[in-house]
Assembly symmetry: C2
Homo-oligomer: 106 residues x 2
């Protein structure tokens, strides 16, 4: 089990998805993310570390506060993968179709 750190893993955890949704509404400091989350600041910090390592968020120091901004373009990788799977799925019977067409016209 190598430590994987990619967007798929980033969005695998419900708490991290919650964080992403919160940040989608605008940048927040850590305390604001913690508020009403039901888990400790340290717990949130760990999730932020993961999100940061995946390039899903960027952090900016501002006085004693740390502002988090989400980078939603990273989610393109997920969309791309899903679309690739669907493309394969749609092409799945093309070979058979081609074979049957050839059969008929031969």
């Amino acid at each position: 089990m190598i430590e994987r750190r990619d967007v798929f893993q980033a969005i695998a955890d419900p708490t991290r998805r919650m964080i992403i949704q919160k940040l989608s509404k605008g940048a927040l400091n850590i305390g604001q993310i913690v508020a009403d989350s039901g888990i400790t600041r340290q717990g949130i910090a760990k999730h932020l570390k993961v999100l940061s390592e995946c390039g899903m968020i960027s952090l900016t120091q501002k006085g004693r506060e740390q502002f988090c901004e989400v980078r939603l373009d990273q989610l393109d990788e997920v969309i791309d993968w899903v679309n690739a799977s669907r493309k394969l799925w749609n092409q799945r019977f093309e070979k058979l179709d081609k074979f049957l067409t050839d059969e008929k016209t031969r």
Copy 2:
């Protein structure tokens, strides 16, 4: 840590993504999935269990063979979540825009 079993977790693992891609080209039995995967049949079986519990694949007994078929429509949930996040992101400055417009027309 409650045992989560959802589509996000299903696609979090690279091996499971590989399985989904393989199955996107058409149904396969377990042996065919194992071939060239680099991991043991038992390892694959565990991943198939997860995918099955997430509703990502359906299994059909056929003699002594077990055929796996992928259910790509389950991925809609992922697409929906990504789109929802992006919508929030786009709406993020609407309130501010509205405020500025009101300011100007007052």
